[in-house]
């Protein structure tokens, strides 16, 4: 035993333990996010619980969200009646009951000891609604145009309502949205002319004519919209809820219905993928706690592309300068170390810089010079997607520079010398030999930069991200790309929904799903980058010999 300790082998085992611990936590974390994120989409069974609390009995319909063990003693102290036959601990279940307008809380804890029976009864329908969250209950009948109809028509009723709602939404966003945009533009144009004292009565009349025309078409669209809304309100579904009462749900509020207890595994799988699709492509609802994350995905991608466009040329030029043109002396060395260290500067510092320099100083000057008509409302002098992209470009610049330089230093000098010896100029060598060979390294740097930018939240909170952006930075109104707009971001979405939303419990699965999405994208990007880098190393290793 003593000699065993002296041999040091136990300590080696301890270091091995640290490796195992790291691996377990990394993999465990990824698996947990994946599991929790994906199980959100799987249609869960809906139970009907008969509860008995003291003398009273009642029924609860809902999905089981979570379960945990609680000490029986504590519960008794808190005033619950727990039979003595029960051991030290009691299991309790977190049930999502939905039906938010009829119960105080759409989530509630129930004790296992209170449960008389729990059945997965067939026929329980889960309605996804545009307001008040899910509704659970048995479909009683359907009302079509005021007439009672058979519940078999449920699907067609909902399909019709969803379609009409979609039309209404399209009308509102596209036609009416563009009229409003144009009206605002006219107001600004008029103001601009007024500021320059060029607003003659003639021009005024012209604008007025356009405004009148727009208002007219606005009214006709509005009429159409009201007609559509009326049409959508025609039907309703009558549902028996867990209190045993009949509740009429207007079809216009229903987005989707499914009967989880009657679904086969195949059906569930199909629905699983449909739900994922909806999550990725839908707009958020109910203060971001329901619906999809499409605007956040779009915002993230748009900002990252903008950033990549900015960071690539600058990063590559700086790397070429450092590696090819700068004198090989201590100053260059110091600069190189400084650049590497900038990658370690906290991201919030870049956010502060971005806010002060880009938003207030640069943006403020742009507003004064080019958008005086909108003042005091800022156009560029307020956080927006362009400033976010610029801030993150500065943040990721060191990543691109370091990666590109590393790629260039791996190119054997024989190739460079060969090219020069054949009479090529330095620029030609650079353009024909060095850059093409370093392109995978540039790519790696760019991917790493993109991965970092996609996951960064702290600086964005200062320079342009919002919890709910009314419009995307890209739309059908000239000039189509609106780089001054604020945008939504997946990472900030996680922070906002997980920590600022009024109903954290309801939002939690959605946050896990969003986190899973973000992690998948970032891990995939990183693995690609690592793959390219390793491939590159192998390639040049063979060139050296």
């Amino acid at each position: 035993m003593k000699s065993w300790f002296k041999s040091g082998s136990p300590w080696i085992w301890m270091t091995a333990g640290a490796v195992s611990l790291s691996l377990i936590s990394v993999l465990g974390l990824l698996l947990m996010i994946a599991w929790r994120g994906l199980s959100f989409f799987w249609p869960a069974d809906v139970y009907e619980f008969n509860l008995e609390q003291g003398q009273a009995t009642h029924k609860i319909i809902g999905e089981v969200y979570d379960r945990e063990e609680v000490s029986a003693k504590r519960l008794r102290e808190a005033g619950f009646t727990i039979p003595q036959s029960q051991g030290e601990n009691v299991e309790r279940l977190l049930v999502k009951t939905g039906n938010r307008e009829f119960v105080e809380l759409d989530f509630r804890w129930i004790l296992e000891t209170d449960i008389q029976s729990a059945e997965k009864r067939s026929g329980i329908a889960v309605f996804e609604r545009s307001k008040n969250g899910n509704f659970y209950g048995y479909v009683d009948h359907v009302v079509i145009d005021g007439q009672r109809a058979d519940s078999a028509k449920l699907d067609s009723v909902i399909e019709r309502a969803v379609e009409i709602n979609e039309q209404a939404l399209d009308l509102q966003n596209d036609e009416i949205g563009s009229i409003n945009y144009r009206l605002e533009k006219i107001r600004l144009e008029q103001r601009a002319l007024e500021l320059e004292n060029e607003l003659t009565d003639e021009i005024k009349a012209e604008y007025q004519a356009e405004i009148d025309g727009l208002n007219k078409s606005y009214q006709s669209y509005e009429k159409q919209l009201f007609k559509l809304r009326q049409a959508a309100d025609r039907d309703a579904v009558v549902v028996k809820d867990m209190r045993g009462e009949l509740v009429t749900i207007p079809a216009a509020q229903i987005l989707d219905v499914h009967f989880p207890n009657d679904m086969s595994v195949l059906d569930k799988t199909a629905r699983f993928f449909v739900q994922i699709g909806k999550f990725v492509s839908d707009d958020p609802r109910e203060a971001n706690t329901e619906g999809g994350v499409f605007p956040a995905i779009f915002g993230t991608v748009f900002m990252v592309i903008l950033m990549a466009v900015i960071v690539t040329p600058f990063g590559v030029i700086a790397a070429i300068y450092l590696h090819e043109y700068a004198a090989k002396n201590n100053v260059t060395k110091v600069i190189r170390i400084a650049v590497i260290n900038l990658a370690g500067v906290p991201s919030i510092v870049y956010g502060v810089f971005g806010l002060g320099f880009f938003v207030y100083m640069l943006g403020g000057s742009i507003d004064e010079l080019f958008y005086p008509e909108a003042l005091p409302n800022p156009t560029f002098g307020t956080p927006g997607v362009i400033w976010s992209a610029l801030t993150l470009a500065i943040l990721t610049l060191p990543v691109v520079i370091v990666s590109t330089e590393e790629g260039m230093s791996r190119i054997p000098s024989s190739l460079r010398q060969g090219s020069l010896a054949l009479g090529a100029t330095k620029a030609e060598t650079l353009w024909r030999i060095i850059i093409p060979m370093a392109s995978p390294a540039i790519m790696t740097g760019l991917i790493l930069a993109v991965a970092r930018a996609a996951g960064e939240v702290a600086p964005l909170m200062l320079v342009g991200v919002v919890k709910m952006a009314p419009t995307l930075p890209l739309d059908g109104n000239f000039p189509f790309i609106h780089i001054d707009r604020k945008f939504m971001h997946l990472g900030f979405h996680i922070y906002d929904v997980g920590f600022q939303s009024p109903n954290v419990e309801a939002a939690r699965p959605l946050v896990y799903a969003t986190a899973f999405l973000l992690v998948t994208v970032i891990v995939a990007l990183n693995i690609t980058a690592i793959g390219i880098r390793n491939h590159l190393r192998e390639k040049y290793k063979s060139l050296e010999h």
Binding site: M1, S7, G8, S9, W13, A16, G17, V19, L21, S22, L23, V26, L29, E68, E69, S71, K73, E88, I317, A318, I320, Y321, Y325, I337, I340, L342, G344, V345, P346, S347, I348, V349, Y350, G351, V352, F353, G356, F357, Y360, L397, P398, T425, K426, A427, R452, G455, V457, A458, M461, G491, I494, Y495, G498, V504, A515, L518, V519, V523, N526, I530
Partner: protein
Amino acid sequence: MLQITTQTNNQNFIRNLKDKVAKYGVTTGGIMVLVALLLIFFYLLYVVQPIFDDVSIDHKLDVAIEQPEKTLALGLDDHVETAFRLTSDNKMEFYQLAGEDSGQAITAFDIDLDSDAVAFAQSMAHLNQYAYVSENNQLLVASPKFKLGFANNKRQITPQIIYPLTEQGIELDSSSQIEKFAFAVNSEAGGVIYQNRDGEINFVRLDAEVNFMTDETEWLQMQAQLPVIQGAVDYLLITADVSRAFVIQNGQLYVFNIRDPENISLVSKSQVVDYKNKITATSLLGGANSIVIADSSGEISQWFEVNGEKGRRFEKIRSFKSSQPQTALYPEYFRRSFVSVDNQGKLGVYYTTSQAELFNGPITQGNIKTLSIAPRADAYILQSNKTIQVFEVHNEHPEVTWSALWNEVWYEGYSEPDYVWQSTSASDDFESKFSLVPITFGTIKAAFYAMLFSVPIALAAAIYTAYFMPAKIRTLVKPTVEIMEALPTVILGFLAGLWLAPLIETHLAALSVLVILLPVSILLVAFVWHNLPQTVRNALPEGWDSIILIPVIVCLSWACISLSPWLNDVMFDGDVRLFITDELGISFDQRNSLVVGIAMGFAVIPTIFSIAEDAVFSVPKHLSQGSLALGASQWQTLVRVVLLTASPGIFSAVMMGLGRAVGETMIVLMATGNTPIMDWSVFQGMRTLSANIAVEMPESEVGSTHYRILFLAAFVLFVFTFVFNTIAEFVRQRLRDKYSSL
């Protein structure tokens, strides 16, 4: 032939030109990018710098006046465009300060008293009210008003006069003529304390009542005599909200609670100057919680109410020394800053809270008769000798000094000096408290717990991976751990706040048992393994130890968690939170340092692991092989040769990790309660520099002191991480050079 040569010459020329263009283009571009990066440093500095600027007071213009001896008080409007003067013959005169007619009189209003004025007083500066009392004890309060209008698209300011206590004023019910008084009037209530020729000191409470017939406001009076004091007093002061009255008599300060006129009580009585000195000037500071008192020895002291051992009473908090006795003190509207003047034209500007003397020196010739500070404290107007002079003042950030940021400061209402960060509040006369100490402390605390958790695990894992692990597994393990580095911290923060924090709260017992059992069980497995027959041991290739341990650790953790309710009962009497708060007397936050330590440690592990692993791995193989060949055991070789050689690299790994832990924002933002407290307790949260910026930056007003201090916090973070990383990088580069020579 000739043609070809010219063509090649031409081509060569173009090629050379391109080469030159590329060279200069890349050089300029590269240098510009590097300069842009440098810009961050200088821009932060540029924003921060004004808070350490000195106060400057520059003469702006003179205003010629008639009958200068009649001046009672002066004042300025919000934008320093108009000045006004109140005279002893009951006039309010306005003067233009901006534009072409600057220095000219605009208008004058007569204030109609029923007889000659015998006493004059002005309210606290921010109320901007001036009052006369006539021989018949009529009190008339006047206040200037500046009406902003746009005529022909041009901004125009029209001065007006308003009478808060109606144009007729009110008759005070005094038995003899009033000699001295102080007053304050708000929209609904007002108050006057006065002393008359008989020596009585009375308080009159005024309440506005709207007559529903005529719709006019009538002021009801309620008079009461102040208790305790007798004889002639030196100074009378009253707060703007009519809740406190201050009376100074023979070096004694009496403070009365006058909220209820029927029940006036003495709050505090203190000797405020030495017996041999006399009080030369006094004034209430903005917010009316403090009084400043100047005495004949040249000392100016600040007093406010402190809840001490002897109950609530006014105490001397700090004092400023000047060589001359000060003749008058003028407070700013809102800040805890004041100006003092002496009779030789010298002027001192002080900020009480930071105990800073911001300016002291002569600015004009002769005796400063009266002075007034502009509402935004960006100008002074004063009368010395026979002219009125206006001075432009730059004093934007008096509350910040280096020592106020880093030392204990005694704030109004606090019982002792303390480090406080409290930047905003709902109340208007709130004084922001900017001490960087609590948030720097929070940063260090968070980083400390994170390092405590991550350094042992990361270094041990790095050593094993680099030195014992076979190459095949290493190529899998290293990227797996490094992927963690790319994981967005917002996700770690979210998991820490919403998953780990409740988990730790319910399973604290299980986790503490796990911390002890984990090493023990690893050793146990190792010992069992050691005693297994050789054939079994040989079945597993060397370096697979960590793979065997994975199921062990997983099973152990699972066992601990499932035994958790039982462990909780045994160790914590059933409820962790209750036990810790009641039995141990430590307050318990669900989102505490333990959660931050683990979550942030988790984020730091890959940084440390990756660099340390590289350092250990790049130790030349012949060194360790030589040691092994000389008979040293694996462990001896590792400790005595490999680690020693790699130690600079390991040091730089820890430094890099520390740099990351210090600047991490999202994890601390989400996993702590973000309260700026100073407490090393594991079960309490903290607020860090970075989280503080993230929380407060969006709400701070551009250019304000708060904004600049947040920039300072960012600058501190920048410099701190930059220095740490530079040291680390430098050490690493030197190590690399050393190895390449070996």
